[in-house]
Each structure stands twice: as structure tokens, then as C-alpha cells.
């Protein structure tokens, strides 16, 4: 474990960037994913189509390709570093999966809920926000938990574009120290430090909400 001591600040910096990227992408992909999920259940046909095209594009292209496209092509127009390009790519990619999850959640909520709310005087947006979405998220929770964990792991894409994340620093340490095996073991453990509490928290939420319902 001398390796961990020698390179501790390097690993810690990588951990910090991975954490930052994951948090930003999680919040961003939840917002975008929910938005595109709602678009797909609106009565307006063209909105459904736009929502569906978005989802199909981003969920059917490898994350690496989206990342490289942003880093190599888009970055020529809008200046951004590898961290930013990778985080945006991660957000777009994950949001497509979250949109599908949330859309399925919305469709699982009995249509009587929306009808009752509209008949009660609520606007569509109010009915969505206060009645349908809370129930949809509850249904979608286990699946959202999976998406979040995938997101943290997928953030290792940053390493390909010099994003300074955990994977990137792990590669550096492995190359400099020649102790490849230990370096990647340490990287793996750092990922667990993020993903395990997240897993347990999602499980706790699920149980907690089940008890309340």
C-alpha cells in the first residue's frame, strides 16, 4: 500500500473530479431525462417525435463516440476541456436512459390520476408535478438507482479525453510506478467508495417509500 501513500494526492484529485463529474451529470441527466420523458407523453405529436428522436440518438450511440464528438468536433466551435466534454457527453447519454425509465414510470401511473387532477381544476403541469411524477419516480426508483450507478462507472470515459478523473489518474500512476495491478485495485476501491453508498442509499429510499405507501 506504499503506492497509495506515494500517490495519495493524485488519487484524491482523480476521485474529486470523478465525484464532481458524476454529481453534475446526475443532476443534469435527471432534469433532461425528465423533460424528454414528459415530452414523449404530451398530447402534442411533434413534441413526442422530438422527445423520441432525442432518446433514440443518445441511447444508441456509444458513450465514447459522443464524448469524442464533443471533444474533437464541438470543442472547435465552443471551447471546452476534456472534463467538460466528457461530463456533457455523460449527461446526454445517461439522460436518454433516464427519459425511458421515467416515461415508463409515467405510463405505469393509472390514467385516472391525471384525469382526477384535471377534473379537479389542476393544469396539466400541476397535475404532472404534484400527482403523476411523484408516483412515476416511485415506480422508477430501482431502475433509476441502476442508472446512477452506471453513470458513476461510465464517468471513467473522462480518461479518454484527459479529464483528470479517477481512471485517468489511475492510468498515470500505473504508467509511472510500473505497479499496474495495485494501481487499478486502488482505483476500483475508490469507485466502490462512491457506488456502494449510492447503492445502499437507493435501497434505503425504496424501502422507506414502500413503507410509506
Amino acid at each position: 500500500m506504499g503506492l497509495l501513500q506515494n500517490y495519495f494526492s493524485t488519487f484524491l484529485q482523480g476521485f474529486g473530479y470523478t465525484l464532481l463529474s458524476s454529481v453534475v451529470a446526475l443532476v443534469g441527466s435527471m432534469l433532461l431525462g425528465t423533460l424528454f420523458a414528459i415530452m414523449q407523453v404530451l398530447p402534442t405529436r411533434w413534441m413526442q417525435i422530438v422527445g423520441n428522436i432525442y432518446v433514440q440518438i443518445f441511447r444508441n450511440i456509444p458513450l465514447l463516440i459522443i464524448t469524442l464528438f464533443l471533444y474533437l468536433a464541438v470543442a472547435k466551435v465552443v471551447k471546452m476541456n476534456g472534463f467538460t466534454a466528457g461530463t456533457i457527453a455523460l449527461t446526454l447519454y445517461t439522460s436518454a436512459f433516464i427519459a425511458e425509465t421515467v416515461r415508463a414510470g409515467i405510463l405505469s401511473v393509472d390514467s385516472g390520476q391525471m384525469e382526477g387532477a384535471r377534473a379537479n381544476g389542476l393544469k396539466f403541469g400541476q397535475a404532472m408535478r404534484y400527482i403523476v411524477l411523484p408516483q412515476a419516480f416511485r415506480v422508477a426508483l430501482p431502475s433509476l438507482g441502476n442508472q446512477f450507478i452506471n453513470l458513476v462507472k461510465n464517468s471513467s470515459i473522462l480518461a479518454f479525453v484527459g479529464g483528470l478523473d479517477l481512471m485517468y489518474q489511475g492510468n498515470m500512476v500505473a504508467a509511472n510506478s510500473f505497479d499496474t495491478f495495485t494501481a487499478y485495485i486502488i482505483v476500483g476501491i475508490f469507485y466502490l467508495v462512491l457506488t456502494l453508498p449510492l447503492s445502499y442509499y437507493m435501497q434505503y429510499l425504496e424501502q422507506h417509500l414502500k413503507a410509506k405507501a
Binding site: D110, G112, Q113, E115, G116, A117, R118, A119, N120, G121, L122, K123, Q126, Y130, I131, P134, Q135, R138, A213
Partner: protein, 245 residues
């Protein structure tokens, strides 16, 4: 003054002609019961009144607003026209009292203390003050329906629509719900349009009975004359059928 007025209304589901040349006028304060065989268009008719279903032709005036006019703000009408459903449609993620308080808070911007006071009053009125904090999953069907009625009343509507409010209930629950509806009907300012198979309720409470079949209104007469001598053969047949069970 008429609260609800259908003039030559036509309604289609795709190619299917669900309402055929419907003409109907309901005055403010009237209680009207709508009956007819399954599939005759009762739900369709009642759901057009608060815009849950669109009409394709004719005029439908509710509280002075023309529902067929695209410029009409449906939310304004729904503020004044409540609806009670066969399957209750309570908000499953909200407690009983929150079900009642949500729309007044969001739509009417009613002051929170006032909102709570009115909600508690309504819970008393429907006999469920002790269930204020319960979630819908913890209530029986009859209790759910009484909460749903309280939820509609909280908006202080001018009219209430009921689509088979007791059809999904166990027989022993029906009486409590009908009692609440009877109370509401006794308020002379409330307009009520009720789809039901409860003929004793219709006899006791309705000012008028409308009989529908195949998307058409076949009979529209005062309650007494409808039950004593229905003019339509199909209405006679329908009455004898519902009387038999």
C-alpha cells in the same frame, strides 16, 4: 338560467358516432339523473361537460362558456364544475385531507388556514374527520368515494358531475355515499348531473330523468312521469330490467 346546455351536439371517437344530435338543457340548481344501457354514451355525455372529451359539432354551453370554442379556457370551467368518478381517482400519493386541500391551494390560492378549516368541515360533512391523515390505500371504497366528493366540494363548484359513483362499491357501502349525495342535492343552488343505476336514489332526489340509448337521448321527463309511465319502449324495458335485480 341554464347551467348546462347541449345544442345539436355530435361526438365521435374516430369513426364511431358516440353522441347523436344531443339537445339538453339543465338549469342551475337542478338535479338530473342520466340512465341507459351499457355503452349508450352516458359517460361520454357527462365527460364532455367538463371537457374531458371534446365534441366535434354543435354547441355546448357550461356556465356561459362555449366548450366547442378553442379560445375557452377549460381550467376556468373545471374550477366551477366538479366531477366524481366510478373509480374515485383519489391522489394516491396524498393523504385524505391533502386530496381535499390540493386544488384549492394551487388553483384558488386559498389561504392555508382557511383551506384547512374548510377541508375539516367537509370531512365532518362526509363523516370521515377521523381519516384526515390516512392515505387512500388505507381507506375502503365507500370512504374513498366520500373523500372524492369532499375534494370536489372544496372547490365550491356550481355544478357536480357523478359518473356511476356507487357502481364500484360493495353493497353495504353504497348507502353512505348516497346519503352524502342526497345532502348535496338538498342544497338548492347546486346543479347535479348523475349517471347511476340506483333507481331509488333517482326517484327520491332527481328533478328529471334522462334516458339514453345508442348515443341518443330518447326520453327527458320529470322524475314522476318517467317512472310512472315512460313513453319509450326501450326505457320501459330498461326499467323492468333494473327493477329485476
Amino acid at each position: 338560467m341554464s347551467m348546462i346546455e347541449f345544442k345539436d351536439v355530435e361526438k365521435y371517437y374516430g369513426d364511431f358516432h358516440a353522441l347523436k344530435n344531443v339537445n339538453l338543457e339543465i338549469d342551475a340548481g337542478e338535479t338530473v339523473v342520466l340512465i341507459g344501457p351499457s355503452g349508450s354514451g352516458k359517460s361520454t355525455l357527462i365527460r364532455t361537460v367538463n371537457g374531458l372529451e371534446e365534441i366535434q359539432q354543435g354547441q355546448l354551453l357550461v356556465d356561459g362558456f362555449d366548450l366547442h370554442d378553442p379560445k375557452t379556457d377549460m381550467n376556468k370551467i373545471r374550477k366551477n364544475v366538479g366531477m366524481v368518478f366510478q373509480h374515485f381517482n383519489l391522489y394516491n400519493n396524498k393523504s385524505a385531507i391533502e386530496n381535499i386541500m390540493l386544488a384549492p391551494r394551487l388553483v384558488l390560492k386559498r389561504d392555508e388556514a382557511e383551506n384547512k378549516r374548510i377541508a375539516m368541515e367537509l370531512l365532518e360533512k362526509v363523516g370521515l374527520a377521523d381519516k384526515a391523515a390516512n392515505m387512500p390505500s388505507e381507506l375502503s371504497g365507500g370512504q374513498k368515494q366520500r373523500i372524492a366528493i369532499a375534494r370536489s366540494l372544496a372547490m365550491k363548484p356550481k355544478a357536480l358531475l357523478f359518473d356511476e359513483p356507487t357502481s364500484a362499491l360493495d353493497p353495504e357501502m353504497i348507502g353512505d355515499v348516497l346519503d352524502v349525495m342526497r345532502d348535496i342535492a338538498a342544497d338548492s343552488s347546486m346543479t347535479m348531473l348523475v349517471v347511476t343505476h340506483e333507481m331509488s336514489f333517482a326517484k327520491a332526489v332527481a328533478d328529471r330523468v334522462i334516458f339514453m340509448a345508442d348515443g341518443q337521448i330518447l326520453e327527458d321527463s320529470s322524475t314522476d312521469s318517467f317512472f310512472k309511465n315512460p313513453s319509450e319502449p326501450r326505457a320501459q324495458k330498461f326499467l323492468s330490467q333494473v327493477a329485476n335485480h
